[in-house]
Symmetry: C2
Subunit: 454 residues, 2 copies
């Protein structure tokens, strides 16, 4: 068969056992098709080769990073070539004068972060998956993280991209300068497009000087809405914390079962705040404590040393792993205006009761970006049904509060129907026109994000 | 004639005298066609009406803000309807909790800035034209300004847009939340697209809490490259000034002829630096002074009071007006990596000599974004020829140094050929595909930014 012959290369395999390990990302309710091949290129030229063959034979191509995504964006499609960028792991340049780094897409976020830190520099985007997710995947999904509340998301740091287009042509777009308006902002268009418009093969990101070591405070509340009001009031007053995270009681319980946190009993919500403004940090956290107490905090503590601060952030970062013990789960991701956070929590509580589903909720409260974790038992059809109903209700709630169905996880397959609701008819039609312009044959991650025109 | 009848509305005029006043923006070397009508709507529905008629009859539409642009993007086209948004001046909402403002596109930047300042809020983008340019125009060109070095450009603040598409459909895109990845980033695609993809009829921008009053320093140098080295070294060390502006001697001379600055004699370049970090500002400026002296500054002064500081910033902002007295001029706009700033200045000096053209240069040095002002005599063909040659040489220099042909002014008609050089063949082709997807009939500001496929 001509197709298989054309695909024959040492970086391509059709071994079903190997393919099986690459079918899924980490989305809940995930479904995946059966791929025909897995390509693991190390160079742009090899990506070009794959896309030329795919174009010629109209074979779907599914770009993949570390498959830590939570929306099914990297899940396999029947008959597709899986195009894993995990072996493109070279850091090509760290520019200490202009504060940029240029990397292949398979470089792991933590590897880049540590490499630049060694030179006194700082790459802020820090998704929960940062120890394993790749820069290419972070760009493809426009990943967020804990630092976003002060520093912004991945797209705020992407300056230049090399992208292999559907037909195998190589596009360089964007620029390395601090500013630039020469032509359309294609860098932002590719960022967050989940592999549906092109395959990212090189990324230049902006860096900052390393921040001062943060000071950390924790506030305990008798109800999540009290914590939400603290967030709203603290930020409205003009504060810019470097971290402002919320965990509710079911989340805290899950983490505490994993590691002793020494939190007081009867806590229904906790806020973790950081300031990295050096000498100004103590007054930032004093202001935080004051607002928290006014909003009903039962206790506010400032971490006395770096170890205590690290423990608090580690507790927040453990939430994901800790909740995996609770059962199957769908990590949801809604972003609402911060003024509506308290209502969002009340709504999730009502949904949890109505559908009899445990929904531990935590997230980047400072951005209004929360992660309700819908816990279900995948082997029990009724539990799955209730979980799905809760998921739908959470999407509807987010939109009702003026929010979006996804703050940082993306659309993939999980939220494609809800995306149509959020975008509306004109929005969907424009998305389809853009998709058509970049991928007229519909081979790039088809069926993800947006249904293509046929 | 059906067309004129269809266009008949109280917000449309065909009076040639009125039309004549709307043919040009402020670009040097500007050419403009003869329009057939001027529409000045006050509501989105009226913009829809214009675009439906224009689509039906395939009439070009040229969207206009305050026509303060510097690249010909708002210049008339033969047979076009000029669509001025200057009467859409309502501030629709200022949200003091979520820190956003929603405005019609004709709201003047300074009007919005002052309105939000009254509520303790801050809209940072501050192009040189901020007292007259509109938010819609700022978004359409992705305008920059003095504050960008710390706060970013217009696009960093745009959250949601209402856009009337070429066929008259109304698209709402983006969101009001702090984060969001639901679908492609169309907000960024429209931002900076210079009216070639749609007509912006409503803008929601993010605001910040009002900054602390800045402290200001000024450093004098015996050569521009010494000032450039100060910029590079100061920023590479991790400093984040809120303003870092450079003026060379011809610029200083022009401003001094306009208003006495009390600068020392024999100054070849001046840097103006601000820090708005409150209690940390004095140490920021001390660090600035130290770097400047190491790099050869002949004198460094810290403004002793607000009036002195305001005078320095006013001097920088006067550069434009002051240089108008020198003759005809083309305000150029190149952005290079900051490590190449000194070479850029040396190159401009050589170009000035080679082509015997005065090129006072000033700009946002912290971003590597400089404005060489090519001065010529429009009534002297040889002077025009030399001016054009200098302009081309500056573009080539910017690209050679790894920069871009425009940091903040845009492409319009002035730099369309140079844009093709910067983007390359694949880049141009992708731009054309995007343009085609949004404007298949080619009625939206045709011939600006990118040549359309025919």
């Amino acid at each position: 068969m001509g197709l298989i012959a054309e695909l024959e290369a040492d970086f391509v395999t059709a071994d079903p056992d190997v393919l099986a390990g690459y079918r899924f990302d980490q989305a809940g309710f995930g479904t995946a098709g059966v791929p025909i091949a897995l390509a693991r290129p190390t160079e742009t030229a090899e990506v070009v080769q794959i896309l030329r063959v795919a174009s010629r034979h109209r074979i779907p191509v599914v770009p993949q990073g570390a498959r830590t995504g939570l929306s099914g964006g990297a899940n396999a499609i029947d008959g597709a070539i899986l195009l894993s960028l995990e072996r493109m792991t070279r850091i090509l340049d760290i520019d200490e004068v202009n504060h940029t780094a240029t990397v292949q897409p398979g470089v792991v976020n933590a590897v880049l972060s540590q490499a630049v830190e060694g030179k006194g520099l700082f790459y802020p985007p820090d998704p929960g998956s940062w120890e394993s997710s790749t820069i290419g995947g972070n760009v493809a999904t426009n990943a967020g993280g804990l630092c976003c509340v002060k520093y912004g998301v991945t797209s705020d740091f992407v300056r230049e991209l090399e992208v292999v287009l559907a037909d195998g042509r190589v596009l360089r777009t964007g620029r390395r300068t601090a500013k630039g308006v020469a032509g359309y902002d294609l860098v932002r268009l590719f960022t967050g497009s989940e592999g549906t418009l092109g395959v990212i093969t090189e990324v230049t990101v902006a860096l900052r000087a390393v921040a001062e070591a943060p000071l950390t405070a924790v506030a305990f509340f008798a109800s999540p809405p009290a914590a939400c009001r603290t967030v709203t009031e603290y930020l409205s007053a003009g504060q810019r914390p470097s971290v402002l995270e919320l965990m509710d009681k079911p989340t805290i319980d899950a983490v505490a079962a994993y590691r002793d946190l020494g939190f007081p009993a009867d806590v229904e919500a906790v806020l973790i705040a950081q300031s990295d403004r050096g000498p100004a940090a103590p007054q930032d956290l004093e202001a935080f404590a004051k607002v928290a107490r006014t909003c009903g905090a039962t206790e506010v503590l400032v971490a006395s040393d770096r170890a205590e601060a690290d423990m608090l952030i580690a507790a927040r970062r453990l939430a994901g792993v800790a909740m995996e013990r609770l059962g199957d789960r769908l990590v949801d991701d809604v972003c609402v205006p911060r003024s509506r956070l308290a209502e969002f929590f009340e709504g999730v509580t009502a949904i949890s009761r109505k559908h009899d589903v445990l929904i531990p909720t935590c997230g980047h409260a400072g951005d209004g970006n929360m992660h309700p974790n819908v816990v279900f038992d995948g082997s029990d059809p009724d539990s799955v049904r209730r979980g799905r109903a809760a998921f739908d209700a959470i999407m509807a709630l987010g939109l009702e509060l003026g929010g979006t169905i996804t703050g940082e996880h993306g659309v993939g397959t999980l939220k494609r129907d809800w995306l149509e609701t959020e975008l509306g008819e004109v929005g969907v039609s424009v998305h389809q026109a853009v998709k058509q312009a970049f991928d007229p044959l519909g081979i790039l991650n088809p069926g993800k994000v947006v249904r293509q025109l046929t």
